[in-house]
């Protein structure tokens, strides 16, 4: 009862840890990351036969134990080192470029790749995050992104325009593609009360099959091809690499679009009147109604915004990397619309949190490939680490317990899943 609900007064004395954590949930995310890597290390230990063999020898002599520890650190260290050098920077290589001024393309490839993967992910995650903050569970970002990709590929390949018009035209086509698909669950929820989770989830399948259909249609299919691949976008519609095609670095002008989306999302959520309506509706739909907020309008609007941004993510991915869309694209595990849900959770639906979360996920994925190539440890380890991090971020109490944090950082953590109940 209300007797218990009295807000606890602030503790007078706090440990350094808790002072740290109570102020910033960032610390919590970082601790979750540490746990992710620790558990990842355990997985490496138990799945690498060289390490296990070394541990079998520890009972023979002291040397055996040292040997086992040595092998363990070597293997785990090598895996994580490759992950780092493959996704951020390889220090000796970087130093070489710095001192000689040569091979910059080679030194910057890892970070360029990470940014390339992060760019559409940031946009898609923000699309999802905005919906979550409004209490709307948009599971359909993947479908919306696919539709954005289809529309973008069509606009980029079927029309001939000068680049200055063609690029905005292509992007706009992607936005509209996602927006139209987003409007369906929005309108259904607002006017019939259909649950958005069901509708968006099911639409993902519809759109995945529509993609196959579109790719096999004479209009969009790559000429003289029998498999499901679209026409290639004209260069006037492509988002060019930042450092020119000759550099070999894939990171494109798409990063500026992502940056613009981050700024837009910050303005929308923190500064705009409609964003205030979104947040009030998400935090307390009853109070929103009593305060004169039109719930239908909010639901439709947020789905338009979320769908439109997801569509933008799709078209940016197409226009900056492959320049065509094919049947493998954006479906299944590769679907950024699904990864975006996790990243939005990780970033607590905040624009900057999402940027860091996307960079982390992209780096784990890109670095994981390097690790797989160099050490033979499967790429799945990256997925395990990603999953563990999200698991811990979603259970702040557990992390606090593990690291013995006293004061409550949980008050700053909102579960992003409140949309389920509505």
């Amino acid at each position: 009862m209300s007797d218990v609900a009295v807000a606890p007064a602030r503790p007078r004395r706090r440990s350094l840890w808790s002072r740290f954590s109570a102020k910033s949930p960032v610390v919590l995310a970082l601790l979750a990351l540490v746990l992710g890597f620790l558990i990842g290390a355990l997985v490496i230990i138990f799945s690498t036969s060289a390490v296990l063999d070394a541990w079998r020898g520890i009972f023979h002599s002291w040397d055996g134990l040292f040997h086992a520890l040595n092998v363990t650190f070597n293997n785990v260290g090598a895996a994580y080192r490759d992950m780092f050098t493959g996704s951020v920077v390889d220090p000796p290589q970087f130093w070489h470029s710095l001192t000689t001024g040569k091979q910059w393309d080679y030194s910057l490839t890892p970070i360029s790749e990470t940014c390339t993967y992060a760019t559409p992910l940031i946009i898609a995650s923000i699309a999802v995050g905005i919906a979550f903050q409004t209490g709307v569970f948009n599971i359909g970002a993947n479908g919306q992104a696919i539709m954005g990709g289809i529309a973008g590929a069509a606009a980029g390949s079927l029309v001939q325009l000068p680049a200055i018009i063609h690029i905005p035209f292509t992007l706009l086509a992607g936005v509209i593609g996602g927006l139209v698909i987003g409007a369906i669950p929005g309108l259904l929820k607002a006017y019939t009360g259909a649950h958005e989770v069901i509708v968006t989830l099911m639409l993902n399948y519809v759109i995945a099959f529509f993609l196959i259909f579109a790719l096999l249609s004479t209009a969009l299919q790559q000429p003289f091809q029998s498999n499901d691949i679209s026409r290639t976008m004209h260069s006037s519609a492509q988002l060019a690499p930042l450092f020119g095609t000759a550099s070999g670095l894939r990171v494109s002008y798409g990063v500026f679009i992502a940056a613009a989306v981050v700024i837009f999302a910050w303005w929308l959520l923190d500064r705009s009147s409609i964003g205030f309506d979104f947040r009030v509706t998400g935090a307390n739909p009853h109070a929103a109604r009593a305060s004169g907020i039109n719930a239908r309008r909010v639901v439709v609007l947020v789905f338009l915004v979320s769908g439109g941004l997801a569509g933008l993510a799709g078209v940016v991915q197409v226009a900056s990397t492959t320049h065509y869309i094919d049947g493998n694209f954006l479906i299944g595990n590769a679907g950024i619309g699904f990864t975006a849900i996790t990243v939005a959770l990780l970033g607590r639906n905040r624009p900057m949190g999402i940027v860091w979360g996307s960079l982390l996920f992209a780096a784990l994925g890109v670095g994981g490939r390097q690790m797989q190539a160099a050490t033979g440890i499967p790429l799945d380890l990256a997925t395990i680490i990603q999953s563990v991090v999200v698991l811990f971020v979603a259970s702040p109490v557990l992390v606090k317990e593990i690291f013995r944090l006293r004061s409550s950082a949980a008050s700053g953590i909102q579960l992003a899943t409140q949309g389920w109940g509505s």
Partner: protein, 504 residues
């Protein structure tokens, strides 16, 4: 059964809800625990019932120290609890509810309904608690539902019965019946712990009154202690129980409700042909036990519930079936019944909550972009003007006490141009200081010529504030009377008698 609490201390973080509390409940006695909301009564009960574990202190039953890890263990030691919010399954019968959790069964695990019903009849008869075992709980009036809760505790062989704010939802007549039951149970040797914040009740029924304040026991006193003395013990200072207000000088009607019919969520006519006028410069107090259509009436006024038929006129303008936005723009101030549900967004700051329903009004926003400077300036001003106790305007409103949360709502509503004010249960759960404050604000509005409609189930509040009192029962207005009317008359009207009949 004799239950002693010795030095019970319960902390939540650094907040001490119970500080070395000693309590001694004797068999055959009604022990009253009196304290304001937030004094720590419910925490203490939850400790006693095994819901919470105390940091220090012990519970001693008949000389034996016990610890309860959960409420099941407490029940097995003979402690029964009647919760403020009933823990009954509405669609089950009385008998099914009473035996829930330890059902008598026949072969193949089938529920033995007859045995269950017999058990009810036995316990009912033993303690004089008449109730039909076959009746479905949701069809029973609240008073009888509570009786089922008591029966349930008794049939589990409770020797100590804890009643947590049992009178909050009852009519005056039902309260009297409950008190009679409590006395007969005590006579049968049961120990009773009666938790309340109402002074009249403890004096009427208690054998011992223990007053707690801010987690401490202030003292144990006999029921002969005067109300004023008890109130002083509760709040630690002299409290004016009445509201000082000058005679009203009402003007013309500002709110006219004509033949209003509003349906509740189940589709039943919760407001059934209600007509009511409120004049400028008067406080109309709408009395009645909760759940008699007041909530639906206010929701219809605020544009949050569809009007089936009839009209609502605000300052000569038809406002029937407008949206909440249109009602806000028409100048309707609304202090909602459930402030945390409808009035506030707990995860937003004090500053944001102070502009919750006017975020687009100049100067708070311009062309779609919010002016956070203006929002902050407004918040600083309101916090000062309305004495909202908060460490910062950026603090989440959830960290404020109930009284200060209500002040946020009052400040927000009264700081925008209003044509009419509706306040629903405006002081529920507030401490005495905040109650006085809210009451003074209502009277100030009325003195400035505003029409004010106050909905309250607290008779004291209705009598203290109202210039006229309308009584509502089962969706109808049973009468509009003068505040000099006796409590008994209003009590009868709350139970359905019309004004004329009640006087006889």
């Amino acid at each position: 059964m004799r239950v002693e609490l010795r030095g019970i201390t319960k902390r939540f973080g650094s907040f001490t809800a119970n500080d070395r509390i000693d309590l001694d409940v004797e068999p055959g006695k009604i022990h009253c625990l009196l304290g304001e909301n937030g004094a720590g009564k419910s925490t203490l009960m939850n400790v006693m019932f095994g819901h919470l574990q105390p940091e220090e202190g012990e519970i001693v039953i008949d000389g034996e120290t016990v610890t309860f890890a959960n409420s099941g263990q407490a029940v097995r030691r003979g402690i029964g609890m009647v919760h403020q919010h009933f823990m009954l399954v509405p669609v089950f019968t009385v008998a099914e509810n009473v035996v829930l959790g330890f059902e008598p069964t026949k072969s193949f695990d089938r529920l033995d309904r007859k045995k269950a019903a017999d058990e009810i009849r036995r316990v009912s008869k033993e303690y004089g608690l008449e109730v039909n075992p076959e009746a479905v709980v949701e069809e029973l009036p609240i008073g009888l539902q509570q009786r089922v809760e008591i029966l349930k505790a008794l049939s589990q062989d409770a020797e100590l019965l804890i009643l947590d704010e049992p009178t909050a939802v009852l009519t005056p007549q039902e309260i009297e019946a409950l008190m009679a039951i409590m006395q007969s149970l005590a006579k049968a040797g049961k120990s009773i712990l009666f938790i309340t914040h109402k002074l009249k009740e403890v004096r009427a029924v208690g054998d011992v009154i223990t007053v707690i304040r801010q987690g401490h026991v202030v003292g144990s006193v006999p029921p002969t202690t005067s109300e004023a003395e008890l109130a002083t013990m509760m709040v630690g200072r002299d409290v004016i129980l009445t509201v000082n207000k000058e005679a009203s000088s009402p003007g013309e009607n500002v709110l006219e409700i004509r033949h209003l019919v509003v349906r509740d969520d189940r589709g039943l006519a919760a407001v059934d042909d209600v007509s009511l006028d409120v004049r400028a410069g008067e406080i109309m107090a709408l009395a009645g036990v909760q759940g008699n259509g007041q909530t639906e009436l206010v929701e219809a006024l605020a544009g949050m519930r569809k009007v089936e038929s009839g009209t609502i006129t605000l300052r000569g303008q038809d406002v029937t079936n407008k949206t909440p936005r249109q009602m806000l723009d028409a100048g309707l101030g609304h202090i909602p019944e459930d402030r945390q549900r409808d009035g506030l967004v707990l995860t937003l700051s004090v500053a944001d909550n102070l502009v919750l329903n006017t975020p687009r009004r100049a100067p708070f926003a311009r062309r779609g972009t919010r002016n956070l400077g203006a929002v902050a300036a407004n918040a600083e001003k309101q916090v000062k003007d309305f004495d909202i106790r908060t460490t910062s305007i950026r603090e989440l409103v959830s960290s404020l006490s109930g009284g200060n949360q209500q002040k946020v709502i009052v400040a927000r509503e009264l700081s925008r141009p209003l044509s009419f004010l509706v306040a629903s249960q405006p002081t529920r759960g507030l401490d005495v200081g905040s109650i006085e404050y809210v009451h003074r604000q209502m009277v100030n509005q009325r003195n400035e010529g505003m029409g004010v409609l106050i909905v309250s189930s607290e008779l004291d509040e209705v009598l203290a504030l109202g210039d006229r009192i309308a009584v509502m029962h089962q969706g109808r207005i049973t009468g509009v009377v003068d505040p000099s009317t006796s409590r008994e008359t209003i009590g009868l009207m709350m139970a359905g008698a019309t004004a004329g009949a009640a006087h006889v």
